[in-house]
């Protein structure tokens, strides 16, 4: 440890960091409140009629882009700080040897806060299974981690409303818990790739350095998360908002109600199927969700579409193909897809 401290750059005092973060949040709030007048003013400068199709689409784009970017920055920063208290290693230790049931619930909940990137899904999967985390519990984690993430929940809150965000959170967790539990009941350990069963993953007892992180360290991790995630997803966001703006401006309301409305029962399975090959980040799909809902699409159908886009993605399945046999992937898609269908139909029936 002594050699490490010698090389650390000179540190600013903690209070300066706290004050800086507080000032940032206040400044953020002041700017955020001015977004509607600002976007209206910007739209009025353009040579289009505000109430024409193009005017509606442009106003939507000019308002949503800064709004989503600002929300995303704040959320990612806050979660970067929160996540510095968690790690896959800690999560594994909490889950190993847990019974199914309790384990599925814990795994889904930990999926929200544990840092996870789909590029390390394979080592994480093996790390879990080889440390005695039951297969079904591992799946609960793998479903919840991308789907019920903070970006999805807080962006839904900011763009669509807290009720929809809460519904998404609760039912996303339920899909992850039930799907994982069912996969566990099927006892499909034999359907892993051969080499995964034989492997004895090293359980190198890492002296994880996050044990003695200071608050400024955690702030720095938050800033790092913002730089990395916002830098990666901004393209998806612009694409999503553009699509949302086109829907908002040009798609007639009765058309949307007809093809994605409550009465079109087939729209739920169609939304799930369309969602699978679509690959975008949660941040990219939510502006589309916002525009669809505003045009009279049914809540259940839209939720099913969103869950399918995020939870069942083709690239992630290709990654998991390295550890799972095709049969197991088919079961995974079948079980999770059925859960999403159930959520879609349930909400279309209730509302």
């Amino acid at each position: 440890m002594t050699t490490e401290t010698q090389h650390l750059p000179e540190r600013r005092p903690d209070w300066l960091w706290h004050a800086g973060v507080a000032a940032f949040v206040v400044g953020w709030w002041l700017i955020y409140r001015q977004l509607i007048p600002f976007s209206e003013w910007l739209t009025s400068l353009l040579p289009v009629d505000r109430h024409s199709h193009a005017g509606e689409a442009i106003a939507f784009f000019l308002y949503d882009t800064p709004k989503v970017m600002m929300l995303l920055t704040l959320i990612v920063f806050a979660m970067g700080v929160v996540r510095s208290f968690f790690s896959p290693e800690k999560t594994r230790a909490l889950l190993s040897g847990k019974r199914e049931g309790v384990g599925n619930v814990m795994a889904a909940a930990l999926g929200i806060v544990t840092p996870f990137c789909s590029c390390s899904a394979v080592p994480l999967f093996i790390g879990f299974v080889s440390a005695g985390v039951p297969l079904g519990v591992t799946f609960s984690f793998l479903v919840a981690a991308p789907m019920v993430n903070e970006v999805a929940v807080f962006l839904l809150w900011g763009l669509v409303g807290w009720q929809v965000a809460a519904i998404y959170l609760v039912f996303g967790l339920m899909v992850a818990i039930v799907a994982g539990w069912m996969i566990g009941r099927f006892h499909l350990e034999g359907w892993l790739q051969d080499w995964v069963r034989d492997i004895h993953a090293g359980t190198a007892d890492l002296d994880i350095p996050d044990k003695n992180l200071s608050m400024p360290d955690r702030y720095r991790m938050g800033i790092e998360a913002v730089r990395e995630i916002v830098g990666k997803v901004w393209v998806w966001i612009i694409l999503g908002i553009s699509l949302g703006a086109l829907i908002h401006g040009y798609v007639p309301e009765d058309l949307m109600a007809r093809i994605m409305g409550v009465d079109a029962w087939w729209s739920v399975p169609a939304a799930v199927v369309i969602g699978i090959p679509m690959y975008t980040n949660a941040a990219g799909v939510i502006p589309i969700v916002e525009a669809l809902l505003a045009k009279g699409a049914a809540l259940g159908t839209v939720l099913a579409f969103m869950m399918s886009v995020i939870a069942l993605s083709l690239p992630e399945m290709l990654i998991l193909r390295q550890v799972l046999t095709l049969r197991l992937i088919a079961v995974f898609v079948g079980v999770v897809g059925s859960g999403i269908l159930a959520v879609g139909f349930l909400f279309n029936a209730i509302f």
């Binding site: 490490e4 650390l8 790690s87 840092p115 990137c117 590029c119 390390s120 394979v122 492997i199 993953a201």
Partner: protein, 78 residues
């Protein structure tokens, strides 16, 4: 010195490899830096979140970009 960087090939893993090479060069340490991309070997090394770094067979880091100051510390102690 034998250094392994574990990662399936995402951007952060490449950045990490670059950081390790630069740190070794800066400290004047002669190091063989190997990039391990095979998921089996990554798992067997006990890495669950990538990128991971092992110095002379001992895992010193897993998950996210390493802190430059700490990285130099590992290389000097390794």
């Amino acid at each position: 010195m034998d250094i392994k960087v574990y990662g399936p090939g995402c951007k952060r893993c490449e950045t990490t490899e670059q950081m390790v090479r630069e740190a070794a060069a800066k400290l004047g340490i002669e190091a063989q830096v190997e990039k391990v991309t095979d998921p089996r070997q990554i798992a067997m090394a006990g890495v669950m979140s990538t990128p991971g770094i092992a110095v002379n067979g001992k895992l010193v880091h897993a998950g996210g970009l390493p802190d430059p100051a700490k990285l130099e510390g590992w290389l000097q102690n390794g």
